[in-house]
């Protein structure tokens, strides 16, 4: 063997160690010098990193990152909107990837000052937003080719969904999105909210898109019980948190729900919270499964994340 051949692996590793450049959600150009130690803030970011084969390099995660399940053993740096710079720096990260709403902003500035590459990943709740998210993460960790593979898989799922939504006849189903946080309040989201956005994508109608005499619901509100009935939902979609108890009965007991067609027929689809509102690489499949649950099944349905079965 010729001695100069040893140069090739050295050159390759040098090429891999080159800093990656990425434009993040705020338009800021970020230089990523090393992807050795990653703190991942956002469930969808963590699951995409896992698809890139990088879950071993995640040294810290936010509370909402539980896919793959091996992350549960790694340090939890808190809720994405209530981050603490010291808890993150304690993991000695070289790269912090966060969803764009992560904060508070001063904490992100503190991380940058400490010399950590911070990439705010775009997080729009649309298929285009998912593609942007996958590509941004791919660029940040130097795997643009793997990112394109994931984007193509997403497009296949969306195509399968479209073939179903386009042949379906009749009025779209009226669906109420409830975020369960208090047994005394029916907390409902309009279609701009990330979890509720999947309902529209799945070919159904958000039941609070327009309410008689009251207009549309923007964002999420405590809907008064009578307005829940006035929305006339035929089905209810609700996220569940794998680490917390969930029961369909408690959804049926929320103010107003029992008086709706959905409540009377027990038409409730409960979906893993990352699966329904994360908008990760599984968003297309999630919308497809939601479509099937809404239009092809009856009674209560529970949809787990394909990569997380508790």
């Amino acid at each position: 063997m010729r001695p100069w051949l040893f140069v090739i692996p050295v050159l390759l590793s040098l090429a891999a160690a080159q800093p990656f450049r990425v434009t993040d959600a705020t338009g800021r150009e970020v230089e990523v010098r090393s992807t050795e130690r990653i703190v991942s803030v956002g469930g969808s970011i963590s699951e995409i990193l896992d698809k890139f084969g990088l879950s071993e390099r995640i040294v810290g995660r936010d509370t909402g990152s539980y896919i793959p399940a091996s992350l549960l053993k790694k340090p939890d740096v808190g809720l994405f909107f209530r981050l603490n710079a010291e808890a993150i720096l304690a993991q000695r990260p070289t790269l912090v990837l966060t969803v764009s709403e992560a904060g508070p902003p001063p904490v992100l500035a503190q991380l940058r000052q400490a010399g950590v590459s911070v990439v705010l990943v775009p997080d729009e709740p649309t298929p285009e937003g998912v593609k942007k998210k996958i590509r941004t993460i791919g660029a940040a960790v130097g795997q643009p080719a793997r990112a394109e593979e994931l984007v193509r898989a997403l497009e296949r799922d969306l195509l399968a969904l479209r073939s179903k939504t386009q042949v379906r006849r009749g009025e779209p189903l009226r669906v109420l999105y409830i975020y369960p946080r208090d047994p005394r309040n029916t907390f409902v989201c309009g279609e701009e909210a990330s979890g509720a956005g999947l309902i529209t994508l799945a070919g159904a109608l958000n039941a609070v898109k327009s309410l008689p005499g009251a207009g549309a619901v923007r964002g999420c509100v405590n809907l008064t019980a009578e307005a829940v009935v006035a929305a006339r939902p035929e089905a209810i979609v609700v996220p569940f948190f794998p680490d917390q108890p969930f029961s369909f009965e408690n959804i049926l007991r929320l103010p107003g729900v029992a008086e709706t067609p959905a409540g009377r027929n027990r038409r409730i689809v409960a979906m893993d919270v990352t699966y329904i509102s994360g908008y990760g690489y599984t968003a297309g499949r999630a919308a497809l499964e939601l479509h099937q649950a809404l239009y092809e099944k009856t009674g209560p349905v529970r949809l787990n994340h394909p990569a997380f079965n508790p």
Binding site: T63, L79, Y179, P180, R181, D182, P183, R184, N185, T186, V208, L211, P212, G213, A214, V217, V221, N222, L223, T224, A225, E226, A227, V229, A230, A231, F241, Q244, P245, S247, N250, R253, P255, G256, A258, E259
Partner: protein, 333 residues
Amino acid sequence: MTPDPRQFQRRRQGLLLALALLLPASLLLGAASGAYYIPPLEIPRVLQQGLEGASVLLNLRFPRVLLAALVGGTLALSGAVLQGLLRTPLAEPGLVGLGLGAAFGAVLWLAFFPLAAWGLPLAAALGVLGVLGLLLRLVGEGEQPGVRLLLMGLLLGSVLSALIGFLQFRVGDPQGRSLTFWTLGSLGGASWELLALTAPLALLSGVLLLGQSRALNALTLGEEEAFHLGISVGALRWRALLLVALGVGAAVGAAGNIAFVGLLVPWLLRALGGADHRFVLPAAWLLGASLTVLADLAARTLFAPAELPVGLLTTLVGGPLFLYLFARGGWRG
């Protein structure tokens, strides 16, 4: 200035009569309006023929209006009794830590049994009893027990709200966020079941408290004078505080802390009709019930289809009003 007693008596009767008419009027108004629009004059027909909307009226609106009345009446009556008992016009369930005790009991219950909402009113009543027992031990037999109780109640209240915050932090999201309900109050969860769970405790406490008006009148003359009138002050205090605990526990357990009803209502009534408990207590129940029904009507219709926590409204209206009255110096009623 001493008003002619007979004239004053007539005035009280007039006020009681007006309040007795105000309550059914507010109940009707509350029952006639809501986010689910049904023309008010159509309501009898909708109910009779079981038309669309009948189930909204029967299962959502009617129990809610009744619960609002029950909770408001109970809170105002409890406030009036506390003020008479402690002889300080600032005593209010919310101020002496009882409301937060109720909330703490309920929050503790939620932390351990997040899915068993049926236990909330009882757990809340136990929370009030716990706070009350602790307070009475702490206050002891020193001078000015009323003032001491008020101050210690305030301190205990802030410890309790910190404890609630701590539990909130430990229980975490999303259950954690839900706990703000207890500090702001809402009647949004009203149902016949909740009413059935709340009414026995609240009504029992209410009826028995109304029977204490003569003893409370005697107490306003002073503890010694009350003793000479044949009132056992110690027993009266225990009995009344226990009944207040039951009522406040049931009310807060059902609807969270609806602030200022227990403070403002008795205060207004004393300003209008004097301090005789035979007048103040029943009048407080009636006025507290009516005002809470109306406040809740605003909470569920002002920003429909969204709803405001009713405690937010009562504080926004009641707080500044009370400050104004208080600053004008008429705090003795």
